[in-house]
Symmetry: D2
Subunit: 372 residues, 4 copies
Amino acid sequence: MPNSFGKLFQITTWGESHGPAIGVVVDGCPPRLPLSAEDIQGELDRRRPGQSDIVTPRKEADRVEILSGVFEGRTTGTPISMLVRNADQRPGAYDEMRDKFRPSHADFTYQTKFGVRDHRGGGRSSARETVGRVAAGAIAKKILALGRATGAAPGGLEIRAFLTEVHDLAVPAGALSAFPTLAEVEATAVRCPHLATAEKMIERIKAVRSAGDSVGGVIECRVRGVPAGLGEPVFDRLEADLAKAMLSLPATKGFELGSGFAGARMRGSEHNDVFESRDGRVRTATNRSGGTQGGISNGEEIVFRVAFKPTATILQRQPTVDVGGAATELIGRGRHDPCVVPRAVPIVEAMAALVLLDHWLRHAAQNQTFAF
Amino acid sequence: MPNSFGKLFQITTWGESHGPAIGVVVDGCPPRLPLSAEDIQGELDRRRPGQSDIVTPRKEADRVEILSGVFEGRTTGTPISMLVRNADQRPGAYDEMRDKFRPSHADFTYQTKFGVRDHRGGGRSSARETVGRVAAGAIAKKILALGRATGAAPGGLEIRAFLTEVHDLAVPAGALSAFPTLAEVEATAVRCPHLATAEKMIERIKAVRSAGDSVGGVIECRVRGVPAGLGEPVFDRLEADLAKAMLSLPATKGFELGSGFAGARMRGSEHNDVFESRDGRVRTATNRSGGTQGGISNGEEIVFRVAFKPTATILQRQPTVDVGGAATELIGRGRHDPCVVPRAVPIVEAMAALVLLDHWLRHAAQNQTFAF
Amino acid sequence: MPNSFGKLFQITTWGESHGPAIGVVVDGCPPRLPLSAEDIQGELDRRRPGQSDIVTPRKEADRVEILSGVFEGRTTGTPISMLVRNADQRPGAYDEMRDKFRPSHADFTYQTKFGVRDHRGGGRSSARETVGRVAAGAIAKKILALGRATGAAPGGLEIRAFLTEVHDLAVPAGALSAFPTLAEVEATAVRCPHLATAEKMIERIKAVRSAGDSVGGVIECRVRGVPAGLGEPVFDRLEADLAKAMLSLPATKGFELGSGFAGARMRGSEHNDVFESRDGRVRTATNRSGGTQGGISNGEEIVFRVAFKPTATILQRQPTVDVGGAATELIGRGRHDPCVVPRAVPIVEAMAALVLLDHWLRHAAQNQTFAF
Amino acid sequence: MPNSFGKLFQITTWGESHGPAIGVVVDGCPPRLPLSAEDIQGELDRRRPGQSDIVTPRKEADRVEILSGVFEGRTTGTPISMLVRNADQRPGAYDEMRDKFRPSHADFTYQTKFGVRDHRGGGRSSARETVGRVAAGAIAKKILALGRATGAAPGGLEIRAFLTEVHDLAVPAGALSAFPTLAEVEATAVRCPHLATAEKMIERIKAVRSAGDSVGGVIECRVRGVPAGLGEPVFDRLEADLAKAMLSLPATKGFELGSGFAGARMRGSEHNDVFESRDGRVRTATNRSGGTQGGISNGEEIVFRVAFKPTATILQRQPTVDVGGAATELIGRGRHDPCVVPRAVPIVEAMAALVLLDHWLRHAAQNQTFAF
């Protein structure tokens, strides 16, 4: 269904930007996992507005309540319902949007599809919907990080997303360590672990905000500790589900795995990842594949990148039409991120965690339940 | 399930490269559609090996048999089972692959995941699996092209994919008409509608083949005639399902919609598609969005691009390991495409058709069944 | 997923008996439907404890809050999240259940499956879970009752469930009018529209309660106004989905459609429903089929019956074992229904509505979206 | 989708009674299972027409071909496509059905739903569709019987269905051993393990056939060796999915688990299954629950019954209407079973196996993949 994601670890999100609350139901969670609201809150705080001076100054405490599925500090295997109350609503700020379609927003398409829309702050199309994804993803991340797969060697998964580009600023090729630490990522408000670039990005975002404009950027995500074997032949390839997960995020325009679009410009002899025995197991000498072959993880790092367009809301006068089709114009108001990409980092990680955990459960069901 | 795709128009493919046959079951097809094997065969012929001198010389007639779901020339609403016999198998050619993992192929990951694999020609991981997709997609394309949506204005959808890049050769910016004709695409074996570039691409592919090497490329796909309203909020955004569809294809490394990765390098004021009244309806002045906003089609052309890596099989000596983990080497043999991208054009179109038809049925169910 | 039901009109319920709240998310609801909490509350009041002197005296106001998906009194096509706070919890009353398995309850199976359970009032296995089903079903019932199918003749569906048996008391054969009115059903606390039998049932329930015992019963459900064509060939037959819906309810032990088990004791010549032209359309002279043929509605009344076992909680001393497997005993305490069947009437109606609406949407998608 | 069943072990059936072939695709099968056509053929032979003198004399060899998913005698984890060619078709025998609706058949409902139908032998609505279910079920049965669950004690599941009623003849209460052997079931053509009753049933079926009439009956199915823990809370209760599976079979009118409808006539103090320690584990002293509590298996035998109506095709003159709605009449011709119930025994077993295996995989995924 449109508001559910995952086959075995399945989440269903609900809620509008300016309704009373926003939330998520997580079904299929393994039982006995130690879980508290604090486990969730940490990730929500990373996506929250108002956390730094380069994001929207909206004040949303975003305190999560767990309403079901956890008993005496452990998950019970039944649905986990989580809810975050919406606060700091200024619905009056959105009156103009009742009748006018904001350029490159979903106002027109929702109105056309459903014949009705909650215009306040974008309603269901608001990026506020990702609160539920991050809350659910926090559970998936915790499960994956604990390294408690039955019968497997200990050691958990680590998922790390970070910015590599903002507008035309990019981390220089080769400048990053293979797997940035969380501290390196969180060191700056822009979540780019290359400090020199991060500083320029922050400056650029501030400059753009002063001009009432906005910019886009690119997030790279790396995952290490993934066992070989996750993902499915044919339609549910690991990268296909990652691509869907990422393109389901607001403002995304592209996804690439491993060598990506640059790989299309290479020869096979340059691109192939040859196998070798290393560390007592089969490894590839390079990782242009980005961690999967034939749709299935090969035990190398999963590496993908996601392109985000510039924020559609800008504080400039733009022509548009109203719901009757008449020409009019609109000036963006309200408190918006001049660049959504830094706050999208925990969201990308959450979606990656959801995909990987779901595929892990699917893999175990088919391949580890019966022994022939 | 891993081998099924779509929610209402659902296909399930089956078959290995060197098994007796390969096929697909299509469930949920609208009834009374005129349909014959010829409708399917035309599309299969476009993806077939041996169709030109730049693709693999394997001989596969790929004649489709319809085994169910069609009665007296019309679909009955019950599952349509289609089968293509595998021919021209030279299983002996694959003996070496029984024990060695081909670099950047799925041999290692299938073996690790399942503990067993049909090594002949890649088995299930072979691009031969896409026969079923193209057969099913031919039905979807026909339905979409007919323009027979209940209560809608007449006029069907047109889906056109074509090559814009091979290796480092690209169609010059702005050189293409907005919507190339089928004849323009099919004019050359490389399926690039820009003739000067097409000629260079063909030369490049031949040169690479002579060197026992391979190259990748990029396909662009455009769809016109899409009504506004297809796609869903949140997870099943139209572009999310298109991204999944494309990344589920063998050898794909990236997907981008509209402005794509380049859009991440723009300002909001440059990127926004402002609305205007044109042709008696709401249109956007530009189409950097690529045909969707908030995950829902806005009535403009859908435009996306897919990156394909170079063919992994090359006729060169490569180091690798065997199933026991011991170092060895391998020389590609067999008959392979030095560049799979031209033959992928009908496959991309098929997947696009499957996504669009499925979303159309979903949209109608929710929004057009009851009138409030 | 285990806690979701429906393919297009999909509901996901969550919550434990003694957690902070219980609720449901409805996804896929048609947009623009006028909807308020009052539409939901009426049905919740019919299932609520404490509504008469033959049901549990627990006090649960069961006030529903709509948290999303409704804007200015109309559904928006996005998920409708509904929540009911749990009140009148006396968790101390359940301390004994922490360590002992109640006979014919789900304590043992939940403990074995998940290795953990919320023992308070049965946790997730409590019939309190059906609050979410009734809330969601109220929306489905409203849509079906309005008779606003696009392009169809006006006239809505009417769904009527009622008791025909309690313990060994049954409505005499032929004593009921074909389609009891809601007033007839609601006339007595036991919801049996045959007054003489209803009075005996009430007496029996009171007698059984005095003895600290419980009884089961049978509900019949009839639906009129169903168009021919709902349901699917093969697995998703209308009666298959109704059977699943009903057997998913707590305490149910059987389902039969039309002639049911008695039909197995008839000859074909007695059982067949011959066709005739009546009222300007094709009708059957009899309705032993119960409203479907080949899994698809034929336009006649849908008639099915559901068997409910006696309430497992009885106020008598029963032997059992504790979580360590040691023999012990248990005396039921708490406030329980000596017969759950009267309160199950609105729940059966809700599940029937969910199945019928979902199949209507599926039917329209495949058969009414394109015209060939 | 309408023609698919199961969440993880998923089957998709296709084919019409008088099309070229009928088949099934099995997706999600565990890899490395030894499997050959003979494993499938044995079960198909049990449902085949012409196997005794009380079933239809149609000659269908029903030889299965495995087209994919098996390599060198073992499953590969990819889809298993199986096909059975239709033979002994006498399409001319069905000309009359092109225009007339057979009473209590699916002719009218298919025509109304789809606006088109393959009238030959009932097309998709024919019980011939169950060939695919039996073929898929044979794989599920083999997996369950082998007792190779990872980490579990050895010992497989045994599934045994048999007739307890034909028309008004029933096995006397208490006359059957708890778990009839396969030899006892297969000893007579009617598949009732109580010989004295079986003989009367056979006589009755022959008498009814001579009269050009038909009869129904009841099948009981027992499953032993089921581990505690299979099934899900709420919607996907084990009995809910069994009920759906059984009501999805042609000619079924009812389902009951354990005490069933008779349980509705009992008191709680009579009905409850008290727990005790026996054989070193928690057992119930009685089994009125029928093997599940709260929708989850409790380790006792699963016991359910399915009611089948009399065959709709009778060799007598019956009034009906034609496709234009005009009154006409029809005399059944062709070769039909006067009682379908004996041949339904392997089909009931197949569906039970599919449900149980699917739930086993689901259970393992959620509860055995990670250890907390």
